[in-house]
Assembly symmetry: C2
Homo-oligomer: 192 residues x 2
Amino acid sequence: MAQVRPMRADARRNYERLLKVAAEAFAEHGENASLDDIAKRAGVGSGTLYRHFPTRQALLEAAYVERIEALGTRADELAKELPPGEALAEWLYEVCVGTIQVRGMKALLGSAVMDGSQAALTACATSMKGAAQRLVEAAQREGTLRQDIEPIEVLRLAHGVSTASELANGQGKHIRRYLSLLTDGLRPSSAG
Amino acid sequence: MAQVRPMRADARRNYERLLKVAAEAFAEHGENASLDDIAKRAGVGSGTLYRHFPTRQALLEAAYVERIEALGTRADELAKELPPGEALAEWLYEVCVGTIQVRGMKALLGSAVMDGSQAALTACATSMKGAAQRLVEAAQREGTLRQDIEPIEVLRLAHGVSTASELANGQGKHIRRYLSLLTDGLRPSSAG
DNA sequence: TACTAAACGGAGACAGTCCCCGCTTATTTC
DNA sequence: GAAATAAGCGGGGACTGTCTCCGTTTAGTA
């Protein structure tokens, strides 16, 4: 394997600054924050930005990997603390909250679970899918989640729930409700 | 009431052409089709386009009202043909299909059911919400839909289902499945 | 200190939005 | 039919954003 020579000091510095500024900008203006503006705020030319991050996706991804990987870790914590079904439910809740509250993460998570997206191979995607798989399989073993459903489908449906909650425009106030509608179904409960 | 003087013949002509071209363009390039390009293809200046349709939303709406109102009519047809629960299910399916297949309609339907959107007062929004209300209330009376859910929530959830199906990227192949997951819930069926 | 490859940065080509305002024309009036 | 007029046209241009190219600068090395 070719030895990867370490980044030059100035390059590393710029890279870090760009990431920091980008995270702020995406949080503030959403996924369409101006890239030239991010470069400017980071005190570099736009050429530098595009060299480090060839696409908006790449920058978005880099800016939020940590947060996404934290969701992966969180999945395992929840798996230890709660019974599988509840762990899955709570994890999906936290995923949805992140999706809505951190502007810019929606696009990223979306393309991570999108069939045919190049992003499907990225660290974010891998980490999300891994976490989902562990929780889903556990819940299925436990018998609280139907067998005929794939981990990635659960992620896609969660994304759908985020979309629905977003339309209700309450800073995520409706996530719990819509998630439980999805879990319980739209039919009247047998208890009702 | 002030008498509304009819549009001048040339104005009406341009208006019609713009609508026709816009519907094509949105279908082809999605909701972000270039407006100047639409003007050009319709053989008018961009000023003319912006005079008739001050915002992209306005154009989108005008281009698709008919189709949306057809969905309203369709709701009533289905209500006659099928028992309420099934009518609602089938109608939601058709709504989702439209949302996905006709590029550009997603944004429109989305803002129609979005809380706090100006579009919430438009013809599209009214017609969709009316149709949803009729079907939802019938299904609730019949007892096949839980009582604690609002018509607009059903529309939002359907929009979520469209989003999820879109991520699965099969030209709507997954709509039926995701819609029934929503209807039945994610728990194992009592039959299984 | 001198060399070199890596990295920088910003000008500029391009695409999109949207407004402004001088010009054109459909309609009305006589 | 000609003149008057207001409704409507249209494209130039200011602005914002993307992304590339290439001459210049600089970190790392010997």
